[in-house]
Subunit: 476 residues, 2 copies
């Protein structure tokens, strides 16, 4: 392995630390090993078979090649890169940007090593409109990356139709290809047709890869590479973690043991899984994890003729900030959570706290300390406080934050999700419950034709309106 | 009342809509009324007695006066305003800014009606450092607003010591007062001493007002007024909501009924409360709510000699974005949540979706529609889909987003929290569980002296280290 590895630490879930009522005993841990070990070859297959579930065949040099070719073409004249996407077509891009570029990246024109990056994953007209006001005078040096496997996602399609019209009006139809990259299915779908029609440069969303597992495909890599992130290192980190998460020894496999602990606690009625990075840069990865975990594991069962529902609820929190917001609940609310803390050994920057004024000697304990030392002391203090309240927590330890360790982290949690899905016995890779809301939106927006063979979209819309229209009897 | 009112809508929690297993029957609703009505005078007192719990005596013109005087003094030469605070000294400021100023406020130098606003509520050295790189060449036109009731909050104190040193080195000690506003206790505490010593302009954190209830005091109002937010309208909205949430009729009191529904579901084992604005601008208010709810209601009981734990877990989500991330879980995961959707009638901006290219006729249903119409259709569609899965949801309806409606919203949820605390029979206004982590941080940072009469901080630090040091046997 090419560099420092992130580590997974689980002592603070053990009964020895937090007591038998909430902790895991040595015997229970052995049972988890027995139950999870047989799944390791299965998950190894899911990761590696022909179409990898993660859009990534570790070590394959082709992954980055198509992305780099387009970066070479578009970057020189690009001052603003705008990603149009939602869900898995946005969360990974945002997470990579916030983790690996400075907080002031978009703001500080002197320091940036690529275009400003904007990721638009909502259709709020006030929000989108204020952005349009900003970007319109800058269109000449702006590139749009529209990302949708099907091209039928209503939010992304709407945004793109607005942008396409604006660009064609301004620069002419034939110039659209100079300003748009479409990331979509290789052959089929609405966006592929539009791209072919307009002669756009394209990147591919691989078959079999759900949005939430796509960050290491062209979906996430193009915007990353455009903003100067080292995608080779990102992929190298993922490939090295691949070796670790396919280790047949449960006790040496960080994804297997992490998933086993998470699902064990889910089954013991701790149904909330909190990810709390002690790093502002990694906070958006907690959001990325939130999708990965919720969409993959929140699933309906059919059981003995009835229905059953399963799935932990992921929650994101930020250390140290949320100590002043959530820790009161985390310690004294119901013991219904398992915590994943992210700790950074080296922040890559030291900021020294000076001595306080003489009138404030009570702050002397901070004098000459490093800010990162304070942040890590707060992490240890919170970990200690959680243990004192018998709340289980694990830690993912980053030696530092760079493309290599972030690539490892992504692959670790993708694999953890696959193990967790297998342990819950659900289909980790589908999302059937999203469909009804999509169809209802189509109906409400006046889509023509049939919703089902028996029912038109118009009739369906009438039903939805009847059920959701405001009833004045229940308004205050 | 001076303008349009926000409304609270609760039909979709009723058994008539979502069935008796998960819905509230007419009889249960009457029981909630009976149980909650007697609390209304108590909450009315909590809001209004001498020291209001919310830092706000509705209608009192003094509230805004001191803030406006300082804005007048500092605004003319200020291009950057930096708030140093954490928890309740940051979340309200961030929420007001994102709700009431455009998304591109900091970025677009031509459109801004006040200084850029930065709120620093963490101590990540990489994050803070990249900001320092940005602000250092701009210090001449930068004002810092340090906010801490006690001045002993380690995060804020550290940031401020760094900033104070930097400003004194650059401009001289006697000029500090031209660049710093301290918001702190009227008389006592570390920050008050520092402010007096340096002759700083100050604003007051009122007595008896916890951080999470302080947004309508000088804590939240100064940065809002500096960035052009109409604080009179904000306070007018709060005052008008005050009238509504003290209405003795349960069925006309939106805070009483909202709290009753929330706690009813908590007691029926729906222990997760999701707030999901269909508005990017209001997303940070879900974060503000998250603190309000978690710190106020997550409390330990002593019961029959043992301990019991209570408190719903607040979760924030964003519509429509999180339909592509969380809705799979919300519909097919365990039915353990109550949803609060925020809906905006008028976004104040229309963005028309043009016709799709001819090759993409399947998108015709979007043509000539307004983007806000699509967003609201998605809200209705999600509400419908949740009801179909028998998941309870309420809606807060904003006629539009402005200072007046946001002021109403703040007061509505502060009062809802007070009612919820009373229904759970906890002390809504304290946060005892935060203390251990604070003391542990002091110890780990090498504070001198005694932690308790029996034990020094040094001994306490040794204990924490022993318990949290990495044990190589449990690292992968």
């Amino acid at each position: 392995m090419a560099g420092k590895q992130i580590q997974f630490y689980y002592k603070n879930v053990l009964a020895d630390v937090i007591g038998p009522e909430h902790g895991i005993t040595a015997q229970q841990l052995d049972e988890l090993a027995k139950q999870t070990t047989p799944l390791i070859p299965k998950i190894k297959d899911e990761i590696l078979t022909g179409n990898s579930r993660y859009g990534l065949l570790p070590g394959d040099p082709q992954i980055a090649k198509s992305v780099k070719a387009l970066v070479k073409h578009f970057k020189p004249k690009c001052e603003n890169l705008v990603v149009l996407g939602i869900g898995g077509s946005a969360l990974g891009n945002i997470a990579l940007q916030n983790a690996l570029n400075p907080f002031t990246y978009n703001l500080d024109n002197n320091k940036r090593k690529g275009p400003r990056l904007f990721v638009f994953d909502n259709i709020d007209p006030a929000h989108f409109g204020s952005f349009m006001d900003f970007i319109t005078p800058r269109l000449g040096k702006t590139v749009f990356n529209v990302i949708s496997k099907s091209g039928q996602t209503a939010e992304t399609a709407s945004q793109f139709m607005i942008v396409q019209k604006m660009l064609e009006t301004r620069f002419g139809k034939e110039k659209l290809k100079d300003r748009v990259v479409a990331t979509t299915d290789l052959e089929k779908g609405t966006l592929r047709k539009i791209a072919t029609d307009a002669g756009l440069h394209t990147l591919v969303v691989p078959d079999g890869v759900g949005g939430r597992f796509s960050v290491l495909s062209a979906v996430g890599l193009f915007s990353a590479a455009m903003t100067g992130i080292n995608i080779d290192q990102l992929l190298a980190g993922a490939a090295d973690m691949h070796t670790r998460v396919t280790n047949p020894d449960f006790f040496k496999n960080p994804a297997a043991i992490n998933a086993a602990i998470q699902i064990h606690y889910y089954n013991r009625n701790k149904r909330i899984s909190v990810m709390m990075p002690y790093s502002s840069a990694l906070y958006s990865f907690a959001d990325w994890y939130r999708q990965l975990w919720a969409e993959s594991l929140g699933k309906k069962y059919f059981l003995d003729g009835g229905e059953a529902y399963v799935g932990p609820t992921p929650v994101k929190a930020l250390g140290a900030t949320d100590q002043h917001s959530q820790v009161q609940l985390y310690r004294e609310g119901p013991n219904d959570k398992i915590f994943t803390l992210l700790e950074i050994q080296d922040f890559g920057r030291k900021i020294r706290i000076p001595a306080p004024p003489k009138c404030a000697r009570e702050l002397n304990y901070l004098a000459k300390k490093d800010m990162g030392e304070l942040l890590n002391a707060e992490k240890k203090a919170t970990e200690f406080a959680l243990c004192e309240s018998n709340r289980p927590c694990v830690t993912v330890l980053f030696p530092k934050i760079d493309a290599y360790t972030v690539g490892q982290f992504i692959f670790l949690f993708e694999a953890t999700t696959s193990f967790a899905g297998a342990l819950l016995d659900v289909n980790t890779y589908d999302q059937p419950a999203v469909e009804l809301g999509k169809q209802a939106t189509f109906a409400l927006m006046g889509k023509a034709g049939q919703y089902t063979p028996d029912r038109s979209y118009a009739d369906f819309a009438a039903e939805i309106r009847a059920k959701t229209e405001f009833d004045a009897n229940f308004v205050i």
